[in-house]
Symmetry: C2
Subunit: 365 residues, 2 copies
């Protein structure tokens, strides 16, 4: 694949090409940042990013420090870093201007996955052991802290004249992120029914904090580091937040109906862990027999076996929880598009962001 | 106790009075910051600071949000926040100028205690359960993250014209802090003897990173937020780092010979956990029979019982490990004093810092 610039384009690239181009742009500085860590948290960070095995040996073809990065083992798709790069380009700057911001959001994303996996007790991520499972809880706490500190240092020391404002965006996002994670954990101990049951609007607020915050920050950092005026930054940050909520809705669909081969997690994983996700809450909020049978199943004192999990997933779908969640995702994507329409943006980058939207919602299903 | 200002002073206040004055100055903004947290991590943070019980009920007399704060249950002495306030005053600004920095270092200190207790498996701190023991590991990870994010937000949003530079100091300190904690954890799996044994100089480097970094940052934030020139900030930061290393040496003494009634931890706690601290490493580095007997004891395959721990502590003292550690602390305090002599400082605040030095080394013994 060759690098494309924003000026010599003849055809709209695909979502995969856009993500790959942004990863290539960001990867050298991301690898350099990881290289500044103490070797031990550095090894855990590289493992978490899919660059190395538990023993620190590089994953073949993961392209650590070099270019490619589209191969298996290279970690996530890099949606957050891409959003930072594309928002810088959208306000008329070269993507390079915002690479420090892209590195920071990717490091914070990795930090949050690492600590969330401890809190949630998740043992698998991307078809590999989670860091706490592979290295132990204490070391995983340390590695997360190291990534958090590294993200802050990367942004604060970037030398970009707008880094102070960028740090303020990051700080706000981090506070929201923690708040969202707190709500999500508290949802677990709340009942499925009755006056204390989690309501869909509470779920939306949690998703906005937990997932919207960092995507909103990714967009804000790109525009901020590129020197965009505050109102433009605010609009792009809002677009990023809504993209995040759409993203979370799709994650919830994958958590129930996702193919384990693709998600790297067991089938019905969220149901198995009795997580209160949007499809279930939306299904429970409907009238009718499917919701009543689902309630009976979820509130039964015996843990759900594989057969019961299949029934529960079918009842959620029957009650409309699956389609409601997809509608929810599309509703938020529409808001993203409205945001993009409301400010003047560079055509190529805005086109790239639009290309990503349907891809991110249809991913891995 | 009445508040003293730096101008109307007739006699040098005591160390206790100085620390109390700084705590009073910082407490309202610290309490306001904690109040901005989500209630759940907020409760854990208040518990960790000694302001509340596990159920969130305020500790009687801990003075949350008000003034006093010298009573039992009020958490630590507040050395870091005091250093920030005093360094601002030392460069000629009112202490108020640097309160956001003092809040940030106190939050980071609390974050690091909270996460370190998870990594070290410590169940007691200040005669109470540690946060992970009282609330669970996952919630304690979350509370630490919340404090980290809150510290950054407090500093970044302070409105102080030098907050960008202050954030850079904080970022650097956090990276050092994590590096020092990584080294400290790795020391545990290294042998007591042979070519891979931890050397005293490695221990010093770890202590400089783990404890020196945040005290150096505390000093740097005070001077930075007060608008001091960079060379003055650098000298005060260096003084803070050496104070931190002295502080760590004294902590190591307390970890072996400290009174459990005062430290809130079991007697010989560090020896029981076979921690590689300066007194032990210094003792092992000496020639003579005490060091040889100590080596035999520490490398014996059976865990040390209470009687063996008493013998080990006596052997460390006999081999000179206790006095070498006290010498180490005093050597670093001398460097602190040299730093203070090398720049022009406001007399009252510099006097306050000097008053704190012997107090911090003689504490709780």
């Amino acid at each position: 694949m060759t690098m494309q610039t924003t000026t010599d384009r003849t055809a709209q690239p695909t979502a995969q090409q856009i993500l790959a181009r942004c990863r290539e742009l960001v990867r050298p500085q991301l690898a350099a940042a990881i290289g500044r860590l103490h070797p031990w948290p550095g090894e855990m960070a590289a493992f978490s990013l899919g660059w190395s095995e538990v023993n620190g040996r590089p994953v073949p073809g993961s392209g650590t420090g070099s270019g490619s990065g589209t191969v298996p083992g290279s970690g996530g798709k890099g949606v957050r870093q891409a959003l930072t790069v594309l928002c810088a380009e959208a306000v008329g700057a070269p993507g390079e201007t915002a690479v420090a911001g892209a590195v920071a959001v990717e490091l914070i994303h990795t930090f949050s996955l690492l600590h969330d996996d401890i809190m949630d007790g998740d043992e698998l991520r991307r078809q590999r052991e989670t860091v706490w499972k592979a290295y132990g809880t204490g070391p995983a706490v340390l590695a997360g802290d190291a990534l958090f500190a590294l993200a802050l240092e990367t942004l604060a020391e970037s030398g970009n004249p707008h880094s102070g404002e960028a740090v303020r965006h990051l700080a706000g996002a981090l506070n929201d992120l923690v708040r969202g994670q707190a709500e999500d954990l508290l949802f677990e101990s709340r009942p499925w029914t009755g006056p204390h049951a989690v309501q869909p609007h509470e779920y939306r607020s949690m998703a906005d904090d937990k997932t919207g915050s960092l995507l909103g920050c990714a967009a804000a950092l790109g525009a901020t580091l590129a020197g965009a005026p505050a109102p433009t930054v605010a609009v792009l940050a809002r677009a990023g937040r809504h993209l995040g909520v759409a993203f979370q809705a799709v994650d919830d669909l994958l958590g129930i109906w996702g193919d384990p081969e693709v998600t790297g997690k067991p089938v019905h994983n969220d149901l198995r862990q009795t997580k209160k996700t949007f499809p279930v809450l939306a299904a429970l909020a409907t009238p009718g027999p499917a919701a009543r049978r689902l309630t009976a199943l979820l509130t039964s004192p015996t843990p759900l076996d594989d057969a019961a999990l299949r029934v529960a997933a079918a009842l959620i779908e029957e009650a409309g929880g699956r389609s409601a969640t997809l509608d929810e995702a599309h509703r938020h994507l529409d808001i993203v598009r409205d945001c993009l329409d409301s400010v003047p943006l560079a055509r190529a980058a805005a086109g790239d962001i639009r290309t990503l939207l349907p891809f991110l919602v249809s991913r891995r299903m």
